[in-house]
Symmetry: D2
Subunit: 336 residues, 4 copies
């Protein structure tokens, strides 16, 4: 951590600051230039409060050199993490397909889609029971009944299930869910993250709408700090000024996250673009970019979907995309 | 609502779509040009699912003409709402000052600050008991004990209190809190918003880090749809590419929100800039822009604050700002 | 074009507005609902000034339904454009590799790199002679002498050359350049675009740092309106809040632009990420996403490059990436 | 400047890097921690190429501690600069009003508006002769004839004039213009900036649509490096995800720029919001925030304006705003 002092800092104040910093258990490297004086803090700086230092009257700025996360940090955990979702691996060497509808609507619908996507090659079934809708007047999901139908679809097909949690009060209801999804809007719901850190269950953590990669990793760190290290990160588009797509899919986050962390990274091209006809190209781009899997919205009848029909593809289209992805997986030497 | 059809849409499909739309209870105005055919939907369009329409194969795009919110909409509620916080009004004609520390640290601290800001002219005391921190290794707030200390400070000074809730499980603990704050990261925690809609208590709703004004109003609509219409909106900076300030304070949201809604709008210059020395100018700019009040972080010893010390001002600085604001309030004919 | 009127618009004013609009040569479809009255404008609306309509006192908002560009619009020109750069095609069916250093530094450097990238499969040589640097104290490019060296490299290798123009006064000097690059910062230099529209020479038009796809297409329209229709669009990253990459590469622009326009679209992964180690994954993702080619920075000695060394790859790394891209091109059935 | 080395950097490579850096004329402060090794570069670091350092194989990251600009930097020039525009001062102690139409349309129009705004208190006349329009099919300005009409209006009223230049080839035509405006889209037209640096004439430099404050100051530095130090900075809104306003007016840039530079800062609320009814509140907020003046679009007949009529106010509205601003100026003790 680098502390840049103001040019006119009095020596007595500098000494007082150095003393205060020493008490935090780090070593100080003092360097005085003509225009700038710098304190280099060496040691365990993760727990130092950067805002507190900045509020000191002689401090010009404070720059963090080390990443503020430890457990999610590849530097301290070089080997790739492979997350096991009821027998299905996500991580290095695999390219795992997750598919299913935006929301569970009926047993016939979810079981039908589950069978279709399994036949095409999906390994995990997705489907929403609790839906975060921007309008209180929109369909809010089936709730607990939706979870039941997901379990029925699992029984029928053997596919593990992933579904979104919206509040920590729902945790007991998610007992039989194989992987719990934390949606983009909950990525910094720290109270929820802490509770999920106490579970022994894989978490699918979606990047927030305007979250930096560092913040995504800090959200993962929240869960991991509690003891649960089975986390899959998911890029789903960030908010920019562009309006032709719902969000801007940030595929360059894949090589960057792969350097910064050992956790697997998957992509949700459906929510990222909001355009069913852009899913195929973004799915292929994701595997090419180094992603560990995809989460794709598939609906048997998008025109009648109760939620986000404009971004869902049909089982036929999914089957076609799978064929393409298998060719890409062969080049990248990944099991799909 | 405008539905633009694809140029090559077959007549039979157009008729089928028109029939389906009619069943939603709206009238259709059909207009066919050389390049573009348009369906104008007239009537109660708020509940129509725009994604479903877009997923129809002959639809090119769907454009919403009316705002998707009703209860928060000034068009249906022209008169300004004045929210009463245990006797303190927020809204048209008033300029209400809310002040206090980022987080409650001790009885001495919170009571001391409360007395100081009251003496300077603050009408409501703020202070965090549950803190949403980006790092799991940072101070997370005093929790329920912090709420107790806030109540002690209220008892001592008579100032109503506002403090942030982080999860709906905390609602019972907020029983004696005068106004519940929903933080930026929870603006789209729809489960929480619904619960708050069932309370009879003012809600301070902060704009999300990357929320549009429309989304802010939809979040308010969530609470209002449940029956609780005492909502104060709070601009606290949005996320942009600029890095010299923590966020970019969007003061132009004030005249725009004032046109779109009847709810009061206040500003938090402390979180917006993250710079204690920018608070004064942004405070003055807020009242000039038409805000109904301010929420400012004040700490008796910013250098030792357990949270966000770099954006807090001292009671002396607060007193100085109040003097300036009183001059501005006189010009704008507002009670301060 | 849709004109939404204010709810309280007087009939006389509405009639006056309708008369004024009729004089613009478009037909009006009038539709009056309970809350909203709408005028649908049918016909040639591209030239109508949306700001002028909006300034009318009874107008609530104006929404453009048709795209404001014509010549760049796929709706009026369904067939893909293939741009010919001195014999090298860019467009459908081809995947064209452009490579070379950020800036030309010496004959030895540019000829050496040209030979190396040609051997690996590059079809066009890039290299900057005039450099837009953010600091006046940085190396500003070799200027005209740099253009000479590029021509020498072309003579040696036969590779057509592309290089950036910074001002219309430089046009005569670009007489022998095969394709003129308009940089991101000049995408809306309308004076320059107009002049380029008078040339008979391919233009490589880079997307501005914060340009929407619509604005990129309007910039192309500026050039095309002058008569020059040989334009290649280039995605090179947009500006967002993310700081881990120099810009955010928006690969979803490829399927969207492919729908909206007939012009070829290539990607510059070097400037987009600013990270040499992210070039390979983004290059592969680009071809997977449907791009028509790539522009990659290659330097024989990145550590000594006079410009942007941190994003350049070596000829060896380029050769390795080409091998990978050939496998991808085979799947996508593109000539590389 | 801080150079953070990779954890596994070999000693020989570190020594080589240190030697190379020493040759740049700066001193090195070496500090080795357990996880991180840091080189602190002390001295004249402005001219060091950060990209070149980053491309070194043992370098993890490079962080600039000092600002990269010198002449625009308040640290080296503590006193406020007051720019003299043909007798009208802009800068500390003054609040200078610039007003006029988006574009010059006729002698009657520009002279009429000039008289009206002068009567209300404007000190400088604005008006566009060359217009940067996003569509090639929109009115492009009157060109040189427009400059003639501006001079006629100056002759009639005595108001100095400011108008926008679009290309360096227009410089001779701007000989009698009192202040040359560089528009947002040209803020990084470095070729133009260099030429303007050779003039002895005030420059009004508008912030780019997605320019950081640092980039705005670097653009000023480009001009100042050439010898022309009479620069007025202008905030005119930045591009964000918000769509309810044309841009997001970043008023917090005022206190920040005032700390970083000695140059005056004015605000253009008309282009920032694109909403004529938001101009008053943003004008008042600007003076409250510490701006040195305003540039406001005024049109005698906004509904018939050839350009941006929706953001223009009438002379009557301008007169009303001036009354308000005079009250604010009295509080802030500024000459208006």
């Amino acid at each position: 951590m680098i502390v840049v002092l103001k040019p006119d800092a009095k020596e007595a104040k500098v000494d007082a600051l150095k003393k205060k910093i020493s008490e935090l258990g780090v070593k100080i490297n003092y360097s005085k230039g003509t225009d700038t004086t710098i304190l280099g803090l060496i040691g365990e700086t993760q727990a130092i409060d950067i805002h507190k230092l900045r509020s000191n009257e002689i401090v010009e700025k404070v720059i963090r050199v080390q990443e503020p996360y430890k457990k999610a940090n590849r530097a301290f955990h070089p080997q790739d993490t492979i997350v096991n979702v009821d027998g299905v691996p996500i991580g290095e060497g695999h390219f795992t397909m997750i598919a299913g509808p935006c929301s569970v609507e009926s047993e016939e619908q979810i079981v039908g889609i589950a069978k279709a996507v399994k036949a095409a090659g999906a390994k995990i079934l997705r489907g929403g029971a609790f839906k975060p809708r921007t309008s209180p007047y929109s369909f809010q999901g089936m709730g607990p009944a939706g979870l039941e139908l997901l379990l029925a679809a699992k029984k029928e097909t053997g596919l593990p299930i992933v579904t979104e949690i919206m509040d920590l009060s729902q945790i007991p209801a998610f007992d039989h869910v194989d992987m719990i999804q934390v949606g983009a809007r909950n990525m910094q719901n720290f109270t929820l993250l802490k509770e999920l850190g106490r579970l022994h269950k894989p978490i699918l953590l979606k990047r927030g709408l305007s979250a930096t990669m560092k913040e995504l990793l800090m959200a993962a760190e929240y869960i991991m700090a509690g003891g649960n290290e089975d986390i899959v990160l998911c890029e789903r588009g960030i908010r920019t000024f562009e309006v032709a797509t719902r969000n801007t899919l940030d595929l360059s986050c894949i090589p960057v996250l792969k350097r910064k962390t050992h956790l697997p990274v998957i992509v949700d091209p459906s929510h990222a673009t909001g355009l069913s006809w852009a899913v195929e190209s973004m799915a292929k781009a994701s595997i090419a970019a180094g992603a560990d899997g995809l989460m794709i919205e598939v609906h048997n009848n998008p025109e009648e979907a109760l939620c986000d029909g404009d971004q869902a593809i049909t089982p036929n289209q999914f089957e076609h995309i799978m064929q393409k992805l298998k060719q890409y997986a062969a080049i990248e030497e990944k099991a799909i």
